[in-house]
């Protein structure tokens, strides 16, 4: 039986016994999710790499911290990653730019009223959404990233973030409302910008 066909619990047991292949298999299975979660939460690749490394380093050094009774291994890893991300925020907060960088969104055109993001190119849409997510308060951001982007169930998100499911639902709802509002405001600003350019053009 190859390591990839084993369950997380079995791989973890082998890893604790010193099996490097088991650890490598665990890493390959879960590093992507942890890395993307940290990337969406922080918006910085260096933080995402650092968090990924720290999460798996903790798994190597203190595997006994994972309690299968409290949730799956990915849930536990998300929880550890979240703590490391928040710690990195505290550490690097003094160096966060004072103003949001929205230069990438300033060249948009033709915003439809019904679908505020319908006329953005795919790359623009991705940047716009990611920036909107990054502008959310952390407690909403982590829920939105987990449930929407990582497609974690509300129950697992509650286990990872160590809070009730009701809190997850309410934060998700509130986070969505804030995101939609932000995206619309960006779209309106961009639409006004286009109109003013057109006026100047015809003046």
């Amino acid at each position: 039986m190859t390591p990839t066909t084993l369950s997380d619990a079995e791989l973890l047991r082998l890893m604790v016994a010193g099996d490097e292949n088991a650890f490598a298999a665990l890493y390959e299975q879960h590093q992507g999710a942890v890395y993307r979660f940290a990337l969406l939460m922080s918006g910085a690749k260096n933080i995402a790499e650092e968090v990924t490394q720290d999460v798996f380093l903790m798994l190597v050094r203190e595997p006994q911290r994972y309690d299968p009774a409290r949730g799956s291994l990915p849930t536990y890893l998300y929880g550890v990653a979240r703590n490391h991300v928040l710690r990195s925020f505290k550490r690097e907060r003094p160096y966060v730019p004072l103003q949001e960088d929205r230069e990438d969104l300033s060249d948009t055109r033709f915003i439809a009223a019904e679908d505020p993001l319908g006329d953005y190119s795919r790359n623009q849409l991705v940047k716009l959404v990611r920036q909107a997510v990054l502008s959310l308060p952390e407690r909403y951001r982590e829920v939105v990233v987990l449930c929407d982007f990582q497609e974690v169930s509300c129950a697992d998100a509650a286990a990872a973030l160590d809070c009730p499911i009701g809190t997850i639902n309410s934060r998700l709802h509130r986070g969505h409302a804030m995101l939609v509002k932000k995206l619309r405001s960006v779209a309106r600003v961009d639409a006004r910008s286009v109109d003013s350019q057109a006026l100047r053009c015809f003046a």
């Binding site: 650890f23 190597v60 716009l128 709802h173 969505h176």
Partner: protein, 247 residues
Amino acid sequence: MNCSDFEMNVRVLVRAELIDAARRDTILGHAANCLPCSDRLSGEQALIAGVRAVVAELGQQSAPADVRTSLLTAFREHAATTAANTVVPMPVKVARHWKLDAVAAAILVTVSMSAVFWIHSRAPIEKGGALTVSAAVATGEEDSSASPVKGDDETPGKLVTTHPSRSLPRTIRHRTKATEEVTEFFPLMEGIDLDSLEAVQAVRVELPASALNDLGLQPNQDNRSGPVKADVLLGVDGIARAIRFVR
């Protein structure tokens, strides 16, 4: 359906999760007739479209290879450290001083028997004033501590005598009586410091001469099989701590 019901269902609808067709029509019907909910639905649809675009964009992203390399290195180091720190239980070296144990056991038995004998013979002792078991100390002061304790009630023949062990030199031969010669005290328990003993009690006992051999002493040539006298130091718990022989 009202706006509150719509709010509870809009996410299910937009995320294309499994939903009953009738329920779906109801939700869409409400959105068609309610401007805020219609606005909410379009916003949610746009958001989910954006989320899916981001997910597709990030789908292939993962931590760079050097993270994996450094983690594997850390794993190897940790495994090596763990293996080095794993304590393999060594076979316990049974450093049993069986000779000392035998002497201690013999002394305990003898002391017990002496105590029983003393209790039964106490009345005649009190009458006659002759002690078969005497508390002895090695202060060099003749019998000052071995004499019965004279309290307020003047209990004659009471043998319990407590002495600080600091008054018990262990290495100097000395006499307790003019006719007696004693050895130094031999500890009967490992690691015991006789100088630190407090409230010890010395009891005179008789042992077989072979007990001398157990401690590496030569018995008297003319008394190889007879009993020998000894002073046993008892702690406050009644356990023998040390012994010396009397000739």
